[in-house]
Amino acid sequence: MATPASDRKLMAIQVDPTNKPYFDAASEGRLMIGLCKDTNKHFFYPRGCSPFTLSPNVELVEAKGTGTIYSFTVMRTKEPFSVAYVELDEGPRLFTNIVDCDLDSLKIGQKVRVVFKPTQEGSPPATMFTPV
């Protein structure tokens, strides 16, 4: 039995002055992640301080956009959809949706790549993933 992922209507994303560069890049089809320049460790979600040291010595860097499913669930609502944590190849795990797939075939450890899905007029796209 297959359950195709629905194309649900997505809510607008609240952009603020600090997260704006991340969402501007997403609008251009690029996935950005934080880099703590003191520890050389990547982090997510991006922010203006390092979650490892609290230092402001951080920058936004482009990720490869590939990773694996760390965990997931399928919401069995009228329009079923999958919520997941994807572990990026750079290390951080991010909260996302797995789309354009059969929801009943998803597995932990499965390889995925980033896709950007439109939300609302004037709002940046959502960062989602699809099986490779």
């Binding site: 603020d16 979600y45 922010r47 965990s71 997931f72 669930t73 609502t77 919520v83 909260f95």
Partner: protein
Amino acid sequence: MSIKGKGYIVGAYEHPTRLATDKSVSQLHAEVAWGALQDAGLTKDDIDGYICAGDAPGLGPLNIADYLGFTKLRFIDSTDVGGSSYLLHVAHAIQAIALGRASCVLITLAGRPASEAMATGTAPRTWGVNVPDDPFEMVYGRTVANAYAMVAMRHMYEYGTTSEQLAWIKVAASHHAQHNPHAKMRKVVTVEDVVNSPMISDPLHRLDCCVITDGGGALIVASPEIARSLKRPLVKVIGAGEATKNQAGGYIDLTYSGARQSGARAFEEAGVKPSDIKYASIYDSFTITVLCQLEDLGFCEKGQGGRFVSDGNLISGVGKLPFNTDGGGLCSNHPANRGGITKVIEAVRQARGEAHPAVQVKDHGLVLAHGTGGLLGTRHGSATLIMERE
């Protein structure tokens, strides 16, 4: 400095309602406060400290203290870490008492999500504006149910935990709820009932979820001198721990909860170990919540929770660790979508020997209550209390 022995729980009251269409949230706060005063044998003027959390409307200690008529409070707190708040409040109250800043502290919780037809677990929820993680999570349909479901999915992947094992937790709660006339769900259910109930968010079924109820509860924490002057059984707090757990910059590990830290801190302060505990109130927003916390508190090895809860091991009179003998959040009550205060209330009933006779634990000298607030799968508060019947 330790809080061990510095404070006693002298009043505990759970509102009997589960659907309060005819009452305001503030009125429910007043009714549980009154109930706790009656239980303790105290009057309003004995209270010199007040604590509430985010369920209290307005600026809690301002608006609700006003409604309750408190004009001479000398200690207030409104730490809000969701459903775990009220366990941590007990510890904060005792800290204040130990410092001489209060002698008798009231804690209240109340809410009416059932009357307000709130889709507690399956509709996106947030806790205010400017929340930094919301832009990275809300658009993906984050709900309470799916944030806990991912914890269950990972636990199954790493340790081979099964839906049938999780179901045993609901089965145990239902065995207890049948004796509670106020429980929302009093029907005894089987493992088959749970795994055959509709799937909400894989692998959690409808019966893996807690009930949605109106109501509330209150606690009164007092100094040893006041406690000894009252006519109630003495329930002394001997250990407490609190912790938060979050995504840690994207390196979240879903296999454990903050109970690992808060539990260890509480056991260290109390000077006891998990095998000494005769009754445990364990936060039960979902079956997986219980499983994770039992492991993290040290009642069994990490990954062995599924085996530990099976075959009725949590049922009073049957298993080794009777839990949530009121029916818990899974079957009885989860007022205001926050089950922390009812966890403490049932632990106090057990320590006093005042639980329902069908579920009362015989050797009830040492009890534990533990709460998780927020979302196990993203960021949560964790609070543990260990209490001793004196």
